[in-house]
C-alpha cells in the first residue's frame, strides 16, 4: 500500500486520541497521556515518511478529494509545503506532550488537558493538509476553539477565563474577514460556472481557485474609493484572518494574554499549532497573493512593522513569558515580511518564510519549555525575582542559551556555521534589502534590521536577568525530571543545527510547492498580473549587508551584557514611571485601553448594545400602546358581552366564522 493511503490518519489519530482521553483518561495513569503521545508519534512517523518520499519526487504530491455537503468537499493535499509543516507540527507537538507529562504531573485535570491538546494538534494537522479553503477555515476555527479551551484551562482563575475570551474574540475578528473572503470567492467562482456546478468540480479546492486567478484579477470593484481587483480584495480579507491568527498588528493583543494557560499550551500556541496557521494560509494561497496588485506589499509592510513594534515592547517586559510572547509576535512579523518579499523574489519567498516558521517553531517551543521548566521549579514568572537560576538548573540554562542564540540569529555568513535562526532569518532580511534596492522603499529593511538588534537585546536581557548573578529572592528550585529535560535537549539540537544541515534543500523543496501534479503555476506570469517586478537574481549583496544582521545581533548581546550582567549602567534611572517612553512601552502603547476598554466596552457594549436595548423596549412599548387602544375600544363591546371573555376561544371562533361568512357571501355573488 502506498503511504499516501495512510495520510488521512495524520489528523484522525490525534482526533481519536481526543475522544479516548476525554472519556477514559481518568482511569489511566498520568491522565491517559500515553494515548495522545502514541497517536501523535504515529502521525509523526507517517508525516516523516511522506516527506522523505516527496523529497525524492517533489512533483508527485498526495491528493484525495470527496464530495461533502452543498458545493463543498473534503480532501487531503500533501505537497512539499504541507509535508514540512506536518512533520514540524507532529514533532514539536510530540515533544511538548512528552514534556507535559512532567510539567502537568500535579494537575488534577490532566485528562482534560491531554484531550484538548490532542484535539488542538488534530485541528492544526487537518488545517495543514486541507485541499480546499473551506476545510482550512473549518480547521482554523477548531484551532481557535482549542486555544480558547486551553488558555482558559484553569477556568477558575478569572484572569484565565477573561484571556480565553479575549483570544477567541480577537481572532474571531480576523476569522470573520477570512470568512468574508471565502464568501466573496465563492460568489465569484459560482458566477463563473454560471450557477451550476459541474459534477466532480470542487469549487473551493485550491487547484480550481488557482485556475480562476486570471478571471478573478480581471474583476474590479470599488472599495472606499479605491479601485481594486477582486483578487486583491479576497487576498487582503484572507490576510485579515492571518493577522488575527498570527498575531499581527493590530490584532496581536490576545497573544501576550494567552499565557494564562499552562506554559506547555503557550509552547503549542506559539510554536506549532496556532499562530503559524496565519503564515501558512498566506503561503498556501501565495499564487493568489502574487497575482493580486498591492497585496504582497501590504503583507510586507505590516509584517515588518509588527516585527519592530512587538520587539520594542519585548525589551521592557518583566514577565519571562511575556517577553517570549512579544518575541513570537515579532518573529511572525518576519515571516510575513518574508512572504511579502515574494514581490521581488517570487515563489522563493514561500521557501524562506516557511523555513523561518519551522526553525522558529523549534527554538520558540524550546524557549517556552525552558521558561516552563524554570517556572515549574521556582514558581514565579517575574524575572525581577529570579537570577542565578543557571546554578540550580544547568540543563535548562544551557538549552535556553542555545535557543536564544538561535532566536538572535548567530552564525557566520558564507559558511555552514550558524544556528537555525541565522539561516532562516538572514535570507528574509537580505531579501528586504533587495526589495529596498529594487523598489527604493527601504522601510521594511530598516524595520527588520532594527528589530534584529532589539531581538538580540531583549532575549539576552532575559538570559542575564534569569540565569546569571545571585538569586534575588529565595525560591529554592531543582532541575526538572527527565521527561522534561530530554525534550529540551532534542529541541536544542534542532535549534542549533537544523539550519546548517537543511537550509538549502528545505528552501528549494518548499519553493517548488506550486509545480506538481496537483497545480502547475507559472509564478512569473502571475507576478505580471500583480504588477510585481521580480528581481533577476540575488545573492550579490554588498558584504556589509551580508554581515549586518550578525553585527546588530552582537551589538544587542553586548548591550544586554553590559547593562544586565556587568550592571555598568543603572537601569533604574530609565525604568521609572516618570519616563514617558518607558511608560508608553510598558503600557504596551495603551492598546488594551484603546481596543478593549474603549472600543469593546464603551462603544460596542455600553453605547451600541445598550441603545439597541432601549430601542427594543421602545418596540415593546408601541405594541403595548396599540393593544391598550384596542382593549379600550373593546371595553364598549364588553358591556354587551357576558364580561369574562375568553380571548383565545373567541378569536378562533371569530376567525373561522369570518371564513364561513365570507365564503357564503361570495357564493351568492357567483
Amino acid at each position: 500500500m502506498p503511504i499516501g493511503d495512510f495520510a488521512f490518519m495524520i489528523p484522525v489519530l490525534p482526533a481519536l486520541a481526543f475522544v479516548l482521553t476525554f472519556f477514559f483518561g481518568k482511569k489511566l495513569p498520568q491522565g491517559g497521556a500515553i494515548i495522545p503521545i502514541t497517536a501523535i508519534a504515529v502521525s509523526f512517523i507517517i508525516s516523516l515518511i511522506i516527506t522523505i518520499n516527496l523529497l525524492q519526487n517533489p512533483e508527485e504530491v498526495i491528493t484525495q478529494s470527496y464530495q461533502w455537503f452543498s458545493a463543498f468537499n473534503v480532501g487531503i493535499l500533501i505537497d512539499p509545503l504541507a509535508a514540512v509543516m506536518l512533520t514540524m507540527v507532529t514533532l514539536v507537538s510530540l515533544l511538548i506532550h512528552i514534556y507535559s507529562v512532567g510539567y502537568m504531573s500535579h494537575d488534577p485535570a490532566k485528562p482534560r488537558y491531554f484531550a484538548e491538546t490532542a484535539l488542538f494538534t488534530a485541528s492544526m494537522l487537518s488545517l495543514v493538509l486541507s485541499d480546499n479553503i473551506l476545510q482550512l477555515f473549518i480547521s482554523w476555527e477548531l484551532v481557535g476553539l482549542c486555544s480558547y479551551l486551553l488558555i482558559g484551562f484553569w477556568y477558575q482563575k478569572p484572569s484565565a477565563a477573561s484571556a480565553a475570551k479575549k483570544a477567541f474574540l480577537t481572532t474571531r475578528i480576523g476569522d470573520v474577514m477570512f470568512l468574508a473572503g471565502i464568501v466573496l470567492l465563492t460568489t465569484d467562482l459560482f458566477r463563473m460556472v454560471n450557477g451550476t456546478i459541474p459534477e466532480q468540480l470542487y469549487l473551493l479546492r485550491f487547484d480550481v481557485i488557482f485556475s480562476y486567478i486570471p478571471q478573478l484579477s480581471a474583476m474590479n470593484t470599488t472599495v472606499l474609493g479605491f479601485e481594486v481587483t477582486h483578487l486583491t480584495l479576497i487576498t487582503l480579507l484572507f490576510f485579515g484572518g492571518a493577522v488575527g491568527k498570527s498575531g499581527q498588528f493590530p490584532l496581536h493583543v490576545w497573544l501576550p494574554d494567552a499565557m494564562e494557560g499552562p506554559t506547555t499550551v503557550s509552547a503549542l500556541i506559539h510554536a506549532a499549532t496556532m499562530v503559524t496557521a496565519g503564515v501558512y494560509l498566506v503561503a498556501r494561497t501565495f499564487p493568489m497573493f502574487i497575482a493580486a496588485p498591492g497585496s504582497l506589499i501590504i503583507v510586507a509592510y505590516l509584517g515588518a512593522f509588527t516585527a519592530i513594534f512587538a520587539a520594542t515592547m519585548g525589551i521592557v517586559m518583566n514577565d519571562i513569558k511575556r517577553v517570549l510572547a512579544y518575541s513570537t509576535i515579532s518573529q511572525l512579523g518576519y515571516m510575513m515580511l518574508g512572504l511579502g518579499m515574494g514581490a521581488v523574489i517570487g515563489a522563493e519567498a514561500v521557501g524562506i518564510s516557511i523555513f523561518h516558521l519551522v526553525s522558529h517553531a523549534f527554538f520558540k517551543a524550546l524557549l517556552f519549555l525552558c521558561a516552563g521548566s524554570v517556572i515549574h521549579a521556582v514558581g514565579t514568572h517575574d524575572m525581577r525575582e529570579l537570577g542565578g537560576v543557571a546554578k540550580v538548573m544547568p540543563i535548562t540554562a544551557a538549552t535556553m542559551v542555545a535557543a536564544s542564540l538561535a532566536l538572535a540569529g548567530f552564525g557566520i555568513p558564507k559558511t555552514i556555521i550558524g544556528t537555525s535562526g541565522f539561516f532562516s532569518k538572514d535570507p528574509i532580511i537580505e531579501s528586504a534589502y533587495l526589495f529596498g534596492a529594487e523598489s527604493g522603499s527601504w522601510l521594511p529593511y530598516i524595520f527588520a534590521i532594527v528589530a534584529a538588534l532589539l531581538t538580540s537585546f531583549y532575549i539576552f536581557r532575559l538570559i542575564f536577568m534569569t540565569f546569571t548573578g545571585e538569586p534575588r529572592t529565595d525560591y529554592g528550585g531543582h532541575e526538572s525530571p527527565a521527561t522534561m529535560t530530554v525534550p529540551l535537549a532534542i529541541l536544542s539540537i534542532f535549534a542549533l543545527f537544523f539550519g546548517a544541515i537543511s537550509s538549502e534543500t528545505f528552501k528549494h523543496f518548499v519553493s517548488e510547492t506550486f509545480v506538481n501534479n496537483f497545480v502547475h503555476m507559472d509564478i512569473h506570469a502571475l507576478a505580471e498580473l500583480g504588477h510585481y517586478e521580480l528581481a533577476a537574481g540575488h545573492g550579490h549583496e554588498p558584504l556589509l549587508i551580508v554581515w549586518m544582521p550578525i553585527i546588530v545581533a552582537t551589538l544587542g548581546l553586548l548591550l544586554a551584557y553590559v547593562i544586565y550582567y556587568q550592571k555598568a549602567v543603572d537601569v533604574s534611572r530609565f525604568v521609572t514611571r516618570d519616563n514617558p517612553l518607558y511608560r508608553l512601552l510598558y503600557n504596551r502603547y495603551y492598546q488594551n485601553e484603546i481596543l478593549t476598554e474603549f472600543f469593546a466596552v464603551k462603544i460596542v457594549y455600553e453605547s451600541i448594545s445598550m441603545a439597541t436595548y432601549y430601542l427594543d423596549r421602545g418596540f415593546d412599548w408601541i405594541v403595548s400602546v396599540l393593544s391598550y387602544i384596542v382593549f379600550e375600544a373593546g371595553d364598549s363591546f364588553r358591556k354587551v358581552q357576558t364580561g369574562n371573555v375568553r380571548h383565545y376561544a373567541t378569536a378562533v371562533v371569530l376567525g373561522m366564522s369570518l371564513l364561513v361568512v365570507l365564503v357564503k357571501l361570495v357564493m351568492e355573488v357567483i
Binding site: L145, Y155, K157, K165, V183, G655
Partner: protein, 495 residues
C-alpha cells in the same frame, strides 16, 4: 399503503386524548412518552423510506372533503417538511424524558398539551390544503397559550395574552392573503380550490399586479410575525422567558413560519410585480434581525432572555437565505431551521437546569458553575459553540451556505450579517465566562451537577448537533432537492 401522514397526526392526538384522562402523574407521563415514541418510530420509518432525490410530494393522501368550497383533505411531505417532522418527533420524546421528574399541577393536562402541540405542528407541515393548513396553524396557538398561562413564570398572564393576540392578529392577516389567492383563482378558473400546490400555480395568472403584491405581503406578514423577524418580534422574549422549559422547547419546535416561507412565499415571490424589491425586503429584515438580535442579546442580564434574543438573531438567517434565492442559500435557510431547533432545545434545557439548581437565571448572580457542574459545562460549551456558528456543528453548515450563496443577490445584507458574527461570539462567550467560569459564587449554596435523566436527552441532542454538523447530507440532500425546484422558478424568470 397505510395513510402514514394521517397516522402521524392521529397518533399524538389520540395519545393526547388518553393522557388527558389519566389520573396520576405516573400514568400521564408514561402514556405521553409511549405516544411520543410511537410517533418517533413512524416518522423514522417514513424518513428512511423517503426518496431524497425526488422533489415531488411523497406519502400523498387526497380525499375530497367539502367539494362545494374546493376544500379537500390533502396531505403530503417533501424535502421541506420531512426534516422538520424529524426534528419535532426526535426532540419531543427527549424533552419528555428531560421533564420526567418535574413536579407540577395538572400533569395530565400538561402532557396532553405537549402531544396536542406535536399533532398540530406536524399537521401544518403535512397539509397541502390551505383550509387544513390554517386550522392546524391556529391550533398550535392553544397548547402554547396554556403552556405559558398555566405553568409559566411570574409574568405568565401578560406574556401568554401578548403572544396569543399578537400572533393571532398576524394569522388573520395571513388568512386575508389566503382568501385573496383563493377567490382570485376562483374568479379566474371558475371553480373553487383550497389546494396549496394548485393555488400557488394559479398565482402568476392573477392579472392585477397590486392584488398579487397584496396577497404576497399579507402572507409574508403572517409568517414574519410568527418567525419572528424584527420589528415584529416583541411577543417572543416575554413568551419564551415566561414559559416553562417544556414550553420554551415547544416554541422552538414551532418551525411553521419558516416552513411557510419555503412552502408558500418563495414559490410565488418571482411572480410579484417587483421580485427584486421583495427580495430586498427579505434580505433587509434578515440582516437586521441577525444584527439587532445579537446586539440586544449582548445587553441582557437574564440568561433565558439572552437566549430568546439569540433565537431572533438566528432566525434572521432563514430570511437572509431566502433572499439569496439560489438552491444552496435556500437549503442553508432550511438547514438553519433544523439546526436552530436542536441547538435552542439544549440551550433552554441548560437554563432550566441552572434555574432549578441555583434558583436564578441572572448572569451576574451566577459564576464559577463549571467547577460544580462539569457535565453541564461540557454540554453547554458545545451548544454555545454550535450557536455561535463553530464549524463542525450544525449552525455553521447553515450559516456558511446562507452567507456564501446569498452574497451575489444581497451583498450589503450579507456584510451586515458577517459583522454580527463577532457580536454573536461576544455575547455567548461573555455569558459563559460570567456564569460558568471564574471563582464559584458561594452565595449559590451547594449545587449538584445535572442529573442523569436530564443529561441523557441533552447529550443525545448534542450528539445530533455534532453528527449533522459533520455530515449534514442525511437531511441536507432532501432540502437541496426541494430548493432546486424552488430556485428553478426564479431562473425561469431570469431575475
Amino acid at each position: 399503503m397505510l395513510p402514514f401522514l394521517s397516522l402521524l397526526i392521529l397518533i399524538p392526538l389520540i395519545f393526547s386524548g388518553i393522557t388527558l384522562f389519566t389520573k396520576s402523574r405516573e400514568q400521564a407521563r408514561v402514556v405521553a412518552f409511549v405516544g411520543a415514541l410511537a410517533t418517533l418510530a413512524l416518522s423514522l420509518y417514513m424518513y428512511f423510506t423517503f426518496d431524497s432525490s425526488s422533489a415531488s410530494m411523497q406519502f400523498e393522501e387526497m380525499r375530497s372533503w367539502i367539494p362545494s368550497l374546493g376544500i379537500s383533505y390533502h396531505l403530503g411531505v417533501d424535502g421541506i417538511a420531512m426534516p422538520l417532522i424529524l426534528l419535532n418527533t426526535i426532540v419531543i420524546p427527549l424533552m419528555l424524558i428531560f421533564t420526567w421528574d418535574d413536579v407540577r399541577s395538572a400533569p395530565n393536562r400538561f402532557y396532553a398539551l405537549i402531544l396536542a402541540m406535536q399533532a398540530a405542528v406536524i399537521g401544518v407541515f403535512v397539509s397541502l390544503d390551505f383550509f387544513l393548513f390554517y386550522i392546524f396553524w391556529e391550533l398550535t396557538l392553544i397548547p402554547l397559550f396554556f403552556m405559558v398561562n398555566i405553568w409559566g413564570g411570574p409574568n405568565k398572564a401578560h406574556a401568554s395574552m401578548k403572544f396569543f393576540i399578537y400572533t393571532h392578529v398576524a394569522s388573520l392577516v395571513m388568512l386575508l392573503g389566503i382568501f385573496g389567492i383563493y377567490f382570485a383563482s376562483w374568479f379566474q378558473s371558475g371553480f373553487p380550490s383550497m389546494d396549496i400546490p394548485y393555488l400557488l400555480s394559479q398565482f402568476p395568472l392573477i392579472e392585477d399586479g397590486m392584488l398579487r403584491d397584496g396577497i404576497f405581503l399579507a402572507l409574508l406578514f403572517g409568517f414574519l410575525v410568527k418567525m419572528p423577524s424584527v420589528p415584529f418580534h416583541s411577543w417572543l422574549p416575554d413568551a419564551y422567558v415566561e414559559a416553562p422549559v417544556a414550553g420554551s422547547v415547544l416554541f422552538i419546535l414551532l418551525k411553521i413560519a419558516g416552513y411557510g416561507m419555503f412552502r408558500v412565499i418563495l414559490p410565488i415571490l418571482p411572480d410579484t410585480s417587483n421580485p427584486s424589491l421583495m427580495i430586498s425586503i427579505l434580505g433587509l429584515l434578515g440582516a437586521v434581525s441577525i444584527l439587532y438580535g445579537a446586539l440586544v442579546a449582548l445587553s441582557q442580564q437574564d440568561l433565558k432572555r439572552m437566549i430568546a434574543y439569540s433565537s431572533i438573531s438566528h432566525m434572521g438567517f432563514v430570511s437572509l437565505g431566502c433572499a439569496g434565492f439560489v438552491a444552496y442559500s435556500i437549503s442553508g435557510a432550511m438547514f438553519q431551521q433544523f439546526s436552530h431547533g436542536l441547538i435552542m432545545a439544549i440551550m433552554f434545557m441548560s437554563v432550566g437546569v441552572i434555574q432549578a439548581t441555583t434558583g436564578t437565571r441572572i448572569i451576574n448572580e451566577l459564576g464559577g458553575l463549571a467547577s460544580k457542574m462539569p457535565k453541564l459545562a461540557v454540554i453547554m460549551m458545545l451548544t454555545f459553540m454550535a450557536s455561535l456558528g463553530l464549524p463542525g456543528l450544525t449552525g455553521f453548515v447553515a450559516e456558511v451556505n446562507v452567507l456564501a450563496f446569498s452574497y451575489a443577490n444581497v451583498p450589503t445584507y450579507v456584510i451586515v450579517a458577517l459583522l454580527a458574527i463577532v457580536i454573536t461570539a461576544a455575547y455567548h462567550l461573555w455569558a459563559m465566562q460570567r456564569a460558568m467560569f471564574g471563582v464559584y459564587n458561594e452565595k449559590l449554596g451547594d449545587v449538584s451537577d445535572v442529573s442523569m435523566y436530564q443529561l441523557v436527552p441533552m447529550a443525545i441532542i448534542a450528539l445530533l448537533i455534532l453528527y449533522f454538523g459533520l455530515n449534514p447530507n442525511p437531511v441536507f440532500e432532501m432540502m437541496l432537492t426541494s430548493s432546486n425546484q424552488i430556485a428553478s422558478l426564479m431562473a425561469v424568470l431570469g431575475v
